[in-house]
């Protein structure tokens, strides 16, 4: 440890600490412009100068790079240091008048205006080199550097041309203290709903603010390390050393007793219904996008805004988008009515927009759901019973000018109606997960007609499947809302656990067995068994039946060419004897 006095305070710091770091530890503020904790000190701006007295001799040094030595006395605001610092800042004010960081520093030091000649009033760059060093030390792209000398010195790419070395990671503009380097999207990518476009702001981030678990991840496309092998700043600053760039996905084999399939659902893709204009009109959004809009920690902070940023005056909510429709999904997605009502309520509460709700049947099946519907009726939401045929922006009357017109057949008054609104929310239904069939094949469970997983029995076995030990929970079995899902998940878990802790296991009495000597290993039975109870034993070259899984249907027995597979109590010779017995007079 090294001891020193700084501004009169006696402190102890460990070897190799710089004066700036020592000051910060004892919350003494020393201004600096070209210093950044994540970069090597460059000591160019000379704003962090302090007076150091060592063995009676006083000299002015830059605190950002000078290491502390035994017994020195540091004065951060001595008259001599302040003089040098003020003049340096005043000179920077002349060189880069438009840089806020310098203006603030000048204000703190009490410098009104600069006595030196200003070459270019809107110059922002103070030539601190943070961008050049970041590009070299952190990013490793070396795309920009200083060129020219003395007063002509500038930062630029070689010959000012567009540089191939630049990987567009914007680290330079991130490190720039004065905003001299700005980032511009030259391609001008068209974004449907600006606020909703959650472009990556930083390569390591939390997926969404309510993500469970709330753990950041590294987005490999945006992360510099995967481009140039450098950077790893996040690794340096993480005290818990939790960052490891070399981590890879790995396949883990887990031996489990039972599996609860809760692979969820896929929202219906609203683009499939061309007539509703999702993807063509910026203000036609899906229910999920509306959830993001209305979410307090969402991109708009919970304010409901149109694409152009204004508040909508009228909003249409369309039910059964992609559900109860033989062109798409015949089944009812069960949850849309209630979340649409929730939307209507939120719209009434947060905006003074007129809400229209287009429904076929209001399915408020749950506890307290119907009462909630009646509240909506009182709140002034206009409910129109009928399926929406088309959403268009072609205005017929000038009232519809600039609005989205919803054409619907109002079945209660038996007439076609045209309702102009600012925004349309499509209450999209639920569809089986993207890899539903893949999972069914892997777990050897079957799907019902609408490709949701088939439960063993709608009443007697709603959470189990035909394969013992495989259970179902949630929307993968059929669309359901959160309360039902939670209930079902509880059931599935308890059934799974009941299997586990029972200790003993009742076997079917009539299961089949394979005689080792007769079996030739032809494996016909293996693919036949609906319960994957038969596995082929590589070493011995024969098939074996797992008694716990065999249900005793006997299909394999009748298919076995060599008669190796026999079903207890229904052996072939037993049945032959029965046949013979029939014809005995």
């Amino acid at each position: 440890m090294v001891n020193l006095t700084i501004d009169g305070k006696k402190i102890k710091v460990d070897e190799g600490t710089t004066i700036l770091q020592a000051a910060e530890k004892n919350d003494i503020k020393i201004p600096s412009l070209c210093f950044h904790p994540l970069l090597e000190p460059y000591a160019a701006c000379r704003v962090c100068v302090v007076e150091v007295i060592k063995k009676g001799e006083s000299e002015i040094v830059t605190s950002c790079n000078t290491k502390v030595t035994e017994g020195i006395e540091v004065k951060t605001d001595s008259e001599r240091a302040m003089k040098a610092r003020e003049l340096n800042v005043e000179m920077l004010l002349a060189q880069a008048p438009d840089a806020e960081a310098v203006q603030e520093l000048a204000k703190d030091l009490g410098i009104k205006e600069t006595r030196f000649e200003v070459k270019d009033p809107d110059e922002k760059c103070i030539l601190c080199g943070l961008c050049v060093r970041a590009c070299e030390e952190v990013v490793g792209a070396d795309a920009i550097s200083f060129n020219e000398r003395g007063a002509e010195r500038t930062v630029s790419t070689p010959f000012g041309q567009e540089s191939e070395a630049c990987i567009g990671c914007t680290a330079c503009s991130f490190f720039c203290p004065t905003g001299a380097i700005t980032v511009e999207d030259l391609l001008g990518r068209e974004v449907i709903h600006d606020e909703l476009h959650l472009g990556p702001s930083s390569a390591v981030r939390v997926p969404i603010r309510q993500a469970v678990p709330m753990v950041p991840f590294i987005d490999e496309e945006a992360c510099i390390h995967f481009k140039t092998g450098e950077c790893k700043l996040c690794e340096q600053v993480c005290e818990k050393e939790a960052v490891d760039h070399d981590m890879e996905d790995e396949e883990v084999k887990v031996e489990v007793g039972s599996v609860v399939l809760a692979s969820g659902f896929k929202p219906f893709d609203a683009k499939r219904i061309q007539a509703y204009g999702y993807g063509r009109f910026n203000n036609v959004i899906t229910a999920l996008e509306f959830e993001k809009l209305v979410n307090a920690s969402g991109p708009t902070g919970g304010k409901i805004r149109l694409a152009n940023g204004k508040e909508p005056e009228s909003v249409g909510i369309v039910h059964c988008v992609g559900s109860r429709d033989e062109n798409y999904n015949e089944y009812c997605s069960r949850v849309c009515c209630m979340y649409s009502l929730k939307f209507a309520h939120l719209l009434n509460e947060k905006t003074n927009a007129q809400v229209y709700d287009f429904y076929i049947d209001m399915r408020c099946f749950g506890k307290g759901y119907e009462e909630f519907y009646h509240r909506l009726l009182e709140e002034g939401t206009k409910f129109i019973r009928g399926r929406v045929s088309e959403i268009t922006d072609v205005a017929v009357t000038e009232k519809e000018e600039g609005k989205l017109v919803i054409r619907v057949e109002d079945t209660l008054i038996g007439a076609m109606r045209r309702i102009p609104v600012d925004m349309v929310v499509l209450s999209i239904g639920l569809e089986p997960g993207i890899d539903q069939n893949e999972i069914a094949r892997v777990f050897n469970i079957s799907c019902s007609q609408d490709t949701f997983f088939l439960e063993r029995h709608p009443k007697l076995g709603p959470v189990s499947t035909f394969s013992d030990g495989i259970f179902l929970a949630g929307a993968c079995q059929s669309p359901k809302d959160i309360p039902d899902t939670v209930a079902q998940a509880g059931a599935a878990a308890s059934e799974a656990l009941s299997l586990a802790d029972k200790g003993t296991f009742e076997l079917e009495p009539v299961t089949a067995e394979i005689d080792k000597d007769l079996c030739s290993g032809c494996q016909i039975c293996v693919s036949l068994c609906p319960f994957t109870a038969i596995t082929y034993n590589e070493e011995e070259g024969i098939s074996e039946i797992n008694d716990a899984l065999c249900k005793g249907c006997g299909t394999c027995v009748s298919a076995c060419p060599s008669g190796a597979s026999q079903q207890r109590h229904y052996r072939d010779n037993q049945i032959f004897a029965e046949i013979e017995g029939i014809f005995i007079e």
């Binding site: 160019a44 701006c45 790079n65 040098a84 003049l87 000179m91 030196f116 000398r149 003395g150």
Partner: protein, 608 residues
């Protein structure tokens, strides 16, 4: 010329072939001599030898006839036939070609009697004018590489370092850091296996300084031998000579010297059979003054942007490619062989208590004997200017001398009896620097001198740190205003504040010393600043915007009879009157170019 080595000659004509004399056609003189000698049939008796810079550049092209040390100067090709016949054939030296000091009547034939040479003590320039730099044998003849042999075979590295430490030799580049100490740091710093490097700093960016150039041109082997001895002392295996690309003759002579040294096995593997390997590479500077600063120099050698970096770590610890590096100036290296040969005690009793040995100065400016002088430390300014320099030309009064180039300062006439060494110069606000010594007389405007030097450092600043990049620009702008008559009252204080702040907070040597010229001129010649600001006048009439030109009508008419020459030459037709009438200057139109003043033969034009 091989044959010439064996044949004994009775006369050697030492023709000076330093850059200055070469530019004065000294090669022409050499050819003329050879032609004339052949014509006279003396080619077997008289040998013409080209040497490095002789030092007395004012009087170039120069010839010294040996034996006899007869000194001829300002030779022209037409003098040669007469010289060859008279002196070389008939043995009668030719008086009219000899050096005649301005005030004396008769010329001084013998070189060592001439004042310019008398007080000089030659160590770094020991072989100047005596050997042909492009022949290694001649260097060896004068004890060349004997110090190396001694160092490699009889001395341990520690002994060499102690010898240099005891000699009191200090860095001749300007810093004055004790060389022995630096060698010790480098040899002690751990290198865990990597190499150590030796660097010779031949950047010499100061305007008007040509010491290193002359040493490299006159005696490259002295530098090479010094570097090998240094390498042996600190255990380095690779050396670099960083020399300005603006010195083509020095570079070519250095290249020839390196090849010859390598040929003799004095460089490369197993030098002189001692098992010590060392080789030297030449790196040419790209013309940036800042690359004279050691860390910028190293960056340039590494191929990076020539830009200084904060110290510590000093090059002795972390230099080229982060390995320990020992950087010394050309002159420092040239001194090393002599110290090893003649011992530290002999060296340490030359010079003063704190500054040992000699220093080479390039004496320029308003001085009669412009040239290269090597004087012992402690010599007074008066001896240099009056005895060696031969006083100020045209009877002008000595005003000040500027030492240390753009990092140095101006020393006023009143300090003429100041003994010259590192400490004395720094006390008066200047510094030893590389050795540039610019003499100024009464016609020099100190504000203009300060402006010149600050414009130099401002232009050469690398631009990395704010005080130097912006500070020198700010000071230049203020000084420029003052010299244009727009100086403000508070400018002097602002200049002083700026100078102090830049000196305090600049990152490298260039920035720390750039304000010295301004500070010293302010300190000693503050009155001139005040006249420029308050009265908007320049006493030395150098700042043209402040001059007012008038014509004394009486002299113009009576003496010049209105010769009308000034009016004809005035480009702004700001002069009224015709021939035979008195002329006047129309002040509004006058652009103060001063042509009338220069042209008028009758001193009718007055400048105030």
């Amino acid at each position: 010329m091989e044959k010439a080595n064996e044949k004994a000659y009775r006369l050697h004509l030492m023709v000076c072939a330093g850059t200055a004399c070469v530019s004065n056609n000294s090669f022409g003189i050499k050819d003329a001599l050879e032609k004339e000698i052949n014509k006279q049939g003396l080619e077997d008796e008289v040998l013409v030898v080209t040497t490095g810079c002789n030092g007395f550049c004012e009087r170039g092209p120069l010839l010294v006839v040996q034996p006899g040390n007869v000194f001829y100067q300002q030779l022209e090709e037409k003098d040669i036939p007469h010289l060859v016949e008279e002196h070389f054939l008939k043995g009668r030296p030719v008086k009219k070609l000899m050096y005649k000091p301005p005030k004396e009547k008769s010329p001084i034939p013998i070189l060592s009697d001439i004042n310019f040479f008398k007080k000089q003590v030659l160590i770094a320039l020991r072989n100047r004018g005596l050997i042909d730099p492009e022949k290694i044998d001649e260097y060896i003849a004068r004890d060349g590489y004997s110090a190396l042999a001694k160092a490699l075979t009889e001395m341990e590295p520690k002994q060499i370092i102690n010898e240099v430490k005891d000699s009191g030799l200090r860095g001749r580049g300007g810093g004055g850091f004790p060389t022995g100490l630096k060698w010790e740091f480098v040899s002690k710093s751990s290198t865990n296996g990597q190499e150590r490097y030796i660097v010779c700093n031949g950047d010499e960016g100061d305007p008007g300084a040509f010491m290193d150039r002359s040493i490299l041109e006159a005696d490259p082997h002295a530098v090479i031998e010094g570097m090998i001895i240094g390498a042996k002392a600190i255990g380095a295996s690779k050396g670099f000579v960083y020399v300005r690309n603006e010195y083509p003759l020095a570079v070519s002579r250095l290249i020839k010297a390196l090849e010859q040294a390598r040929g003799y096995g004095l460089l490369g593997k197993d030098i002189l059979g001692s098992g010590f390997d060392f080789d030297i590479k030449i790196v040419r500077g790209a013309g940036a003054f800042v690359c004279g600063e050691e860390t910028a120099l190293m960056a340039s050698i590494e191929g990076r942007l020539g830009e200084p970096r904060p110290r510590p770590p000093y090059p002795a610890e972390k230099g080229l490619w982060d390995n320990p590096t020992c950087i010394n100036n050309v002159e420092t290296w040239a001194n090393v062989p002599v110290i090893i040969n003649r011992s530290a005690d002999w060296y340490s009793n030359i010079g003063t208590k704190t500054s040992k040995g000699t220093k080479v100065f390039s004496l320029v400016g308003k001085i009669n004997n412009t040239g290269l002088v090597e004087v012992p430390m402690g010599i007074t300014l008066r001896e240099i200017i009056e005895d060696i320099g031969g006083g100020i030309p045209d009877g002008k009064k000595f005003k000040a001398v500027q030492t240390g180039g753009p990092s140095g300062g101006c020393i006023p006439a009143k300090n003429i009896d100041l003994p010259i060494d590192y400490e004395s110069l720094t006390e008066v606000g200047s510094m030893m620097g590389s050795g540039g010594m610019v003499v100024m007389d009464e016609d020099t405007c100190m504000v203009d001198v300060a402006k010149y030097f600050i414009s130099f450092t401002q232009n050469e600043s690398c631009g990395k740190c704010t005080p130097c990049r912006e500070g020198t620009k700010a000071m230049y702008e203020i000084l420029d205003r003052i010299t244009k008559g727009e100086g403000k009252e508070e400018d002097i204080d602002l200049l002083e504040d700026l100078a102090k702040s830049i000196k305090d907070s600049a990152l490298c040597g260039l920035g720390n010393t750039a304000p010295n010229p301004v500070l010293t001129t302010l300190k000693y010649f503050k009155d001139e600043y005040e006249i420029h600001i308050k009265e908007k006048k320049c006493p030395a009439h150098v700042c043209r915007e402040l001059n007012t030109y008038t014509i004394d009508e009486k002299t113009c008419l009576d003496v010049g009879h209105g010769c009308d020459l000034c009016r004809k030459n005035c480009s702004a037709n700001a002069i009224s009157g015709e021939t035979k009438t008195a002329h006047q200057v129309i002040q509004e139109k006058c652009i103060k170019c001063g042509v009338c003043y220069d042209v008028c033969r009758f001193d009718a034009v007055k400048v105030k």
